[in-house]
């Protein structure tokens, strides 16, 4: 079946099964490989993208559910005001270690800052608990989110 996807402002018509996770359509069909496969069960956050501005785990969202809604991936998040500030803060603090989880971290952090422009440490921990980092970059992630918030 064909689905119309609106990814990063660009329309794609994909011919896939409706229950295939959005992640694999983004990566394998469209070719946007910035979004990563981590656990495959929505537990680690590496595959986070935004659908209608809400962060979702693309490894479990059937593509049929995301069709016709605006989808934003790591490739275009820097085009939003919050995304640009988050990416700059990530670079300024040098958050990334191995980097595998970081596109998901940035997608969550950006949606978070858009809704909560002045977060406390507690606020940050409550939201970013959903994104696991095996390198343990959590202190730098928290610092970068605060830096991005201060850069409004």
């Amino acid at each position: 079946m064909t689905y119309d996807l609106l990814v990063n402002g660009k329309k794609y018509v994909v011919d896939v099964d409706g229950d295939i996770p959005l992640l694999w359509v983004l990566r394998d069909t469209i070719g946007l490989t910035g979004t990563k496969f981590g656990c495959g069960i929505a537990m680690c956050g590496a595959c986070t993208v935004q659908v209608d501005g809400v962060p979702v785990r693309s490894c479990v969202v059937p593509v049929a559910e995301a069709a016709a809604k605006p989808i934003t991936t790591i490739e275009a998040i820097g085009e939003t005001a919050e995304g640009a500030r988050v990416q700059k803060a990530w670079l300024d603090i040098d958050v990334v270690q191995c980097g595998y989880c970081q596109s998901g971290q940035i997608m969550s952090a950006t949606a978070f800052l858009a809704a909560n422009p002045s977060p406390t440490d507690e606020d940050i921990d409550a939201v970013m608990a959903g994104n696991i980092c095996r390198c343990g970059t959590y202190p730098r992630i928290r610092a970068a989110i605060k830096l991005a918030a201060a850069g409004r």
Binding site: M43, V54, R57, I132, R134
Partner: protein, 213 residues
């Protein structure tokens, strides 16, 4: 060049393995199982005393309300529990004021309008319903006795201002309540059915909505 082609997926696999290995508290769930029978209203006809009958009927209905499918989202704190053993939700979730999770990690980040199957995992599916949310703080059930749950359920200051008639309708028709009997692969269902459960609540109300001690 060949080495490099193999190296890229290897890095990805190692990274994914590391992430999964980091989720130490991920626990396997029991296979989906039928929750068994729930006594029907007629099973209580032998109790002559109306008040005693009402209390006994609520006790039976509470087997549903205290089942993990229901009580996991009626926690004592503002964080849900999950699984058959009611361990803390992974990732740690905070209800926030909305009871839908904080912006950036809302329930719908992972939970859809329907159960979502997952492949190749100890966790067979991710539960979902369009009303997926945590019960309000006033409706916390974990840690309460059945009698305390009963008194909370009929207290309009704590039950969302529901009348007894509203409670019968809610228990019998609400599709998030009904989800408990269709929890997706990998989860047990509470005893009985939504229909038998609602009939018990109806009978409890019609016998005076008495609460066990």
């Amino acid at each position: 060049m060949i080495k490099r082609i193999f190296a890229i997926p290897l890095v990805a696999v190692l990274a994914a393995t590391g992430i999964v290995a980091g989720m130490g508290s991920l626990q396997s769930n029991a296979e989906t199982s039928d929750g068994g029978a729930l006594k029907s209203v007629s099973d209580f006809e032998a109790i002559a005393d109306t008040s005693a009958r009402s209390k006994a009927i609520f006790e039976e209905a509470s087997r549903v309300m205290t089942h993990p499918r229901c009580i996991n989202c009626h926690p004592a704190t503002r964080s849900p529990t999950q699984g058959e053993d009611m361990h803390p939700h992974v990732p740690l979730m905070n209800a926030s004021e909305s009871s839908l999770g904080p912006a950036g990690l809302v329930c719908s980040t992972c939970h859809g309008a329907e159960n979502r199957p997952v492949v190749g995992s100890r966790m067979k599916s991710i539960p979902g319903n369009s009303h997926w949310s945590l019960a309000p703080a006033s409706m916390a059930w974990q840690g309460l006795t059945v009698g305390e749950i009963c008194r909370q359920v009929k207290d309009t200051s704590r039950n969302g201002n529901r009348s007894l008639a509203d409670l019968i309708r809610h228990m019998g028709e609400d599709h998030l309540v009904g989800w408990a009997w269709h929890p997706g692969e990998g989860r047990s269902a509470p005893p009985g059915s939504q229909e038998t459960f609602a009939a018990l609540i109806d009978a409890w109300v019609s016998t005076g909505a008495e609460c066990p001690d």
